[in-house]
């Protein structure tokens, strides 16, 4: 097999772009207590999220909730490995990720 026939891996953004979301423009389903994050030394949310919903930007956690795949990992990771700053709700009925294959 030649190198040319090898497709490069898709970027995460390209992958998320393949997915279907019904975005709730009115409200985020993820609440973050930013004061707790300031004192958090581990910030597992920045690593664990498969959609990189959480990014450290301008001294605080920016939350791109619209990309959330709704796995719930952030809640578990933050509760135990962080400061318990994240409250992950399920998105409003019918909103959020809608897998075509699953």
């Amino acid at each position: 097999m030649t190198a040319a026939s090898q497709k490069p891996q898709l970027s995460l953004d390209a992958r998320l772009g393949l997915d279907r979301y019904e975005i709730d423009a009115e409200q985020s389903h993820i609440a973050v207590d930013h004061d707790k994050c300031k004192t958090c030394t581990t910030r597992p949310c920045l690593v664990c999220c498969p959609a990189i919903v959480y990014r450290w930007t301008d001294e605080r956690v920016a939350v791109a909730y619209e990309n959330c795949l709704e796995c719930g990992t952030c809640q578990i990771a933050c509760d135990h490995g962080g400061r318990g700053a994240i409250t992950w709700h399920i998105p409003a009925g019918g909103f959020g990720i809608a897998f075509r294959y699953g």
Partner: protein, 429 residues
Amino acid sequence: MERFDVIVVGAGPAGATAGRALAQAGLNVLVVERAATPGAKNVSGGLLYSRAVAEVYPEFWKHAPIERAIAAHQIVMLGEHTSTALDFRSAQAATPPFNAFSVLRAKLDPWLATQAEEAGASLISGVNVDALLVENGRVVGIQAGPDQIGADVVVVAEGTAGLLLKQAGLRGPHNPHDVSLGVKEVIALPPDVIEERFQCDAETGAAYTLVGSTGGVEGGGFIYTNKASLSVGVVVKIDSLYASGRHPHEILDAFKAHPLVQRLVRGGEVVEYSAQTVHRGGFHLATQLVGDGYVVAGSAARLLVNNVLTLRGMDFAITSAVEAAQAILQARFAGSYTAATLGNYVERLKATSIYQDWRTFKDAYGLMENPRLFSLYPDLAGEVLERLLTADTKPGSKALGALSEALKGKASWLTLSQDMLQIARGMVL
């Protein structure tokens, strides 16, 4: 207040099955699902094992949207540049009643929900249940937005990440040590390419379980053949994941870049990226299954059999739902829905073969915490075989000598034998 005999939260395999069984018995059942369409929030990282399912849905493979009957299992240890595989094929698994099927949940779950509806259950999709209504320690119904709906019993089948039980104080938080994250891609390939590449025919397919595929993070990889796509993913323990500092999609990318995996997925088009938490299946981690006015079924109760080689969540969910429904019918006959009368569910569940399998493989849980299983041994297996199979210019040695060479500086013979004993306890003896 509007009332039903039973409210089921969640229309996955557990919820739909409970709804169907109770509606068949003539009860007035409401099933509430948060996705606009059942299955749209669900991801399968396993196979649908058919024996227990067929008892509930006879010959379901003729009607349900399954993908392929899995007649080939590959158990692979991935070294950095090697792969060592056990290739098991069974003609029996390719004929009824089969062993297991690959499935895609966005297709399977709507079918299951339709079975519940056809039995007479009322299915409402696209609506969240916000809380369990609790009065004097007893679950009496649900809160959904502004609406309160009452029921004799609530079946909680909200899935792994479900928050209702936690909110109501009926389960503790999940521990990142006991829960894994699965990330997966569905990769489209033409059926004839799949059949050629995985040596199967139009109806059958292969399942790969891969160890050593997660760059030392505790977990494993999988590849399942669907009709016209592959499900390719890695499952990693959450505490091990954040300790590694690597993003989940990067672990998936590294897995897909391994020469063995690369060959299997090449030319395919990624059509979906998904993620899902999955309990690691610790026998000791089951939540309380019943309480006054409620029962818990499926992965909401952390029911999962995981012995490294097989991962049984969906059939366990279906079995648990059937037993929960039977217990509810018994409790209804007695006219009381307390933890004591519903407790029959636990007794019934304990008598099922899948529950007994769960107990049998309880030591596999500790085995999967041995870091050498994920990094050292897959490489070691490759290295030993490489020494035995490579015609070198230097004189070679027999297997034991090759193993001794390969072990040097990595682990002692004592560690190796202790680990082998642990593997034996978990899976063999």
